[in-house]
Amino acid sequence: MNGSDAAPVNGSDAVTMNRSDTVARRRLDPRTLLVHCGWMGAPLGSLALTALATGGRITTGAWLTLAAVAACFALVTAIGLIRWARTDFRVTDERFELRSGLLTRRVRSVPLHRIRTVEVTATPLHRLLGVTVLRAGTAGSGDGAGALVLDALRTAEAQRLRAELLARAGAGAAADDPVLARFSRRWLRYAPLTFWVVGGVFVVAGAVYRTLHGIGIEPWKIGLVRRAWSAFGSGMLWLTVPAALLGLVALGSAGALVLYVENWWNYRLEWTDAHTLRVSHGLLTPRSVTIERARLRGVLLREPLLLRAGGGALVRAVAGGLGDREENRRRSALLPPAPRAEAVRVAGGALQSPFPTPESGNAGAPEPGASGASEALARHPRAALRRRRTRGLLFAVLPGTAALAALGAAFTPVLLHCAWIYALLSTAAVRWLARDAYRSLGHALRGRHLVIRAGTFSRDTLVLQRAAIVGWTFTTSPFTRRAGLVTLTAAVAAGEDGYRLPDLAARHAPALASEAAPGILEEFLVQPTGDAGRDAAEAGLRSR
């Protein structure tokens, strides 16, 4: 039974409190009583069905059932009423207190700073009545054993209380909570925002076609397909094409949803003890990966373009010992596509320090724990922007336009028009993407970590332990040398082994490298000649 006094008695944090405080005690919502009558739905429903089926004639047995139900209702309501009257709670400056109990009075009290999770959940019945269950868990309480449960509050009040508790729970909340994250059905809306929406359909279609082809069936020769094609296909292109696209997206979304559910149902990320992080997930094939804290060298927050547009992100671990490249890719996932704020929280929890959330437009609500770490990252030189633009023009705009123009000149003027339209549209797209890529570029040193952000199709924010860096590579090409840029690669014995810091100012890169991971390249540094250079170099010596 899920009564309002369900808060367990002997939780480790239960402390009897009888201090008279000025903070007012609050009651649960009266609608709680109705929630507890929910069990009557089944007998009453069957009774009603019986009455319907027999045309309104109610038998003696039915009357008896009804009487029993009524008696139970009276009893439950009476108990519920007393319970409701005798249950109250309050949030003082330091503690969260819940007083309950029918005959024996219990006061459970939890220091606010020990509260790690505050969950609000609602069954359909709760939702119908506009109320919510609030569950405040402490470290070590896991699934309910030590949790304070308020069943139920008005939804708005529950949300307010949750915010209140979390705000007071303090910055440490994310740092040493054993359970960092659990699966939430609301994340499913991010499933379609992956490559598989369209790509997956083509892959599956290709596989089906190949299979059919392999057993000797030509799909185009099946009567149904041919008739459908002749009826709709060629005649109404303006209808067929959008319909096909819509079908493609719907099919892809469904597929992505199924994959997401299969992969991530029962997802749970937790510190099993102080040194081990465990990720478990999977519906049909549950899998679980354990990462030693000593081998966890950093965290990667990944925001692919589509997912980013939807306000989502996913989190990967940068850890050693997960296997080869492919295995590492599969096993390093810490969080599936989920809301960005959640991703930031989880990343911070895995790092055990606030995840630096650099400015990123308005996406992502600021985390209470992450304040102070959200200064902007250091920008890269403008030459990086020019490089991105040039690359886009060279590799996306030029080939397509040239091909279309050549074909147009050879065959039909329609293609010539296509060529200039393509040139215009793709130039606009390239400029936008280049700008976005440039705005994404950034780096910073934050305490023990090096923060690198780069990418536009997949914007990756990497937070890497500086102590984990075991080597540096400076890569240049004639173009970057002319622009005064250099790409720095940090070698790490974890994750993808090398992490790139693209297009840094060549003048600053060596100093950054030596500051981020001291003791590797100092002996190969020289002071630049010239007065300005010497000043800078002296400053550099001092800083070391």
Binding site: G320, A378, R379, A444, V470, G471, W472, T473, F474, T475, T476, S477, P478, T489, A490, A491, V492, A493, A494, D497, G498, Y499, A505, R507, H508, A509, P510, A511, L512, S514, E515, G519, I520, L521, E523, F524, L525, V526, Q527, P528, G533, A536, A537, E538, A539, G540, L541, S543
Partner: protein, 172 residues
């Protein structure tokens, strides 16, 4: 932009052996330029024999697309490489520069060195050269110094081995 002071990374002290230029030239001839020239030769000969009319446009096309790039690569790459490739064994780290168009400078601390391999391919042996590869726990930290003379390679791998033992660290 934070005021990162600006010391610069100087190139490594020691150049590779001058014979490496010849090695790279032969390598280019065998792997890139040779096949490209052969590919150009076949249509040129066929064209000259059977379709003399095609030569006025086929000839320049082959020249621009295949012959000139092949010759350019053959001449430029080894010189360019020789200008770039260099190495140095510091007190605490190994430092190597390599590449030609895309150039790489890589530094790995001696405390992280796991193995030191010396490799002599059949071509390299002809010119008395060797390649020293220093591996670390991270594949992005492995250092390859190609085109050392046999003696240098021997000496270098011995010294790296010794130095790596002297510098404390778990190589992890």
């Amino acid at each position: 932009m934070p005021a990162y002071p600006a010391p610069l990374l100087r190139p490594p002290r020691h150049r590779v052996d001058p014979r490496a230029r010849r090695w790279w030239t032969v390598q280019a001839l065998l792997t890139v330029s040779g096949p490209m020239l052969l590919t150009a030769l076949v249509p040129a000969v066929l064209g000259a024999l059977f379709f003399p009319g095609a030569l006025p446009w086929l000839g320049p096309l082959l020249l621009v697309v295949l012959v000139l790039p092949a010759l350019g690569y053959l001449v430029a790459m080894p010189r360019w490489r020789y200008a770039v490739h260099a190495w140095e064994l510091g007190e605490r780290a190994v430092y190597a520069a390599g590449g030609w168009f895309w150039q790489k400078r890589r530094i790995a601390p001696l405390s992280r060195v796991q193995t030191v391999d010396t490799v002599r391919g059949p071509l390299q042996r002809r010119y008395g050269l060797a390649t020293v590869t220093v591996t670390t726990a991270s594949t992005a930290g492995d250092i390859t110094i190609a085109g050392l003379s046999d003696a240098d390679a021997e000496e270098l791998s011995r010294r790296i081995g010794e130095a790596a033992q002297d510098v404390p660290g778990d190589a992890a």
